[in-house]
Subunit: 230 residues, 2 copies
């Protein structure tokens, strides 16, 4: 048995909302999901900024007109799958405020709680164990998963990069939701969504981003992660 | 600049000691380093068991006679590079007792502090932040690095597997020691030793093993990790 033998659902028709969709990671994911034909609602504290981002991304090669729209963060919750791509600083507050809008939805947390000093990046201590576990705690009515932590925002946003050479580690206690997120990751050219455990194992996946930043610094690269033998 | 542009030292002549060299990980590494032509001192609480392991591995195809010897753990410290591959339970006690023997040596911690329950593996909380940081704390006179956390013991030990398709994340605050360990990892066919940050970022690398165990369970595989764009 291998990766291809684990059947995944069809994610083709899913609409995607992105909280913090004007930041580097959110913007890059919005572009790639629009490229793959998904309706994407870019959310931001500023609806105007979200609309501007949607217009800019819509003009990139390969993006079908009308797929990308901008809205406030609450408006971005009106989607099948809602990706949380906000800075760690505002994570808890924003999610607590959007709990009613996110009830029943599949939520994908891709936030990395990191600190930075002269020696580079390091993981912050999160009382709940991870950003994703915090999300699950704050959103008891949502189907919380975690994914897309390690994807280079630079490569995502680069329209010259046709394929992202990386696997996406997908975590979640809700198997059906995790499988849909795996399938959604697989919609981006080059990516596979690999099931990588329960939410209690999300902390180290988030923190590993500090190592990838160290590798990027050392080798002047935009690295990703592949799972071998799969 | 990329991986090949960062010059690594020559690790060809290094002797290797392995604490806990009769366990699955230690045994597999001993075999691979002997295959690569290194002198390997397999250490164990029981010198007899270590000698038996050395004899068994010496009979595997491709291993030159006389490279592998068995000894007590203290005897395994008499090597250029000493790999710590003991179970987490005995980690602190063993290292504290061997601090004099390990003074001045390059120590490579590959221990993963994990717990297991019905839902699988999960990371244990380590007061020092990681097994490697604990080693650095207990061995102030040693040059402590961390590496080889994710290499499948099953694949390492399988003489039918000619090449290990995986990168080894090497952590360390001592750049020269880390570079030697990277070079040593590169002596095993298929492996690259990639510098992945300081010891304060070792905890998540150790803990990621819980995710790889989850992936192995889900897909019936023996997965490893590759760093892409490098």
């Amino acid at each position: 048995m291998g990766f291809d033998d684990v059947a995944l659902p069809d994610a083709g028709g899913l609409s995607v909302g992105i909280l913090g969709g004007t930041g580097p990671q959110g913007r890059g994911l919005a572009y790639r999901f629009a490229l793959a034909g998904h309706t994407v609602r870019i959310g931001s504290r500023s609806a105007e900024r979200a609309e501007a981002t949607a217009r800019t991304l819509s003009e990139l090669p390969g993006v079908t007109e009308g797929l990308l729209t901008g809205t406030g963060n609450a408006g971005a919750c009106a989607a099948d799958v809602v990706i949380v791509a906000v800075p760690w600083e505002g994570h808890a507050e924003l999610l607590a405020s959007l709990a009613p809008e996110l009830a029943g939805r599949i939520v994908v947390d891709c936030v990395n709680p990191l600190g930075f000093d002269k020696q580079g990046a390091y993981p912050l201590t999160v009382p709940e164990g991870s950003a994703a576990a915090q999300a699950a705690h704050l959103l008891p009515e949502s189907r919380v998963t975690a994914a897309f932590h390690h994807v280079s925002a630079v490569l995502l946003a680069d329209s010259e990069v046709a394929s992202l050479d990386t696997d996406v580690l997908v975590l979640g206690d809700d198997r059906e939701a995790a499988a849909l997120v795996q399938a959604l990751a697989g919609r981006i050219t080059g990516m596979r969504g690999v099931y990588a455990g329960r939410l209690r194992n999300a902390g180290q996946v988030e923190a590993l981003t500090a190592n990838l930043i160290a590798i990027n610094r050392r080798y002047k690269a935009h690295v990703g992660v592949r799972v071998t033998d799969l």
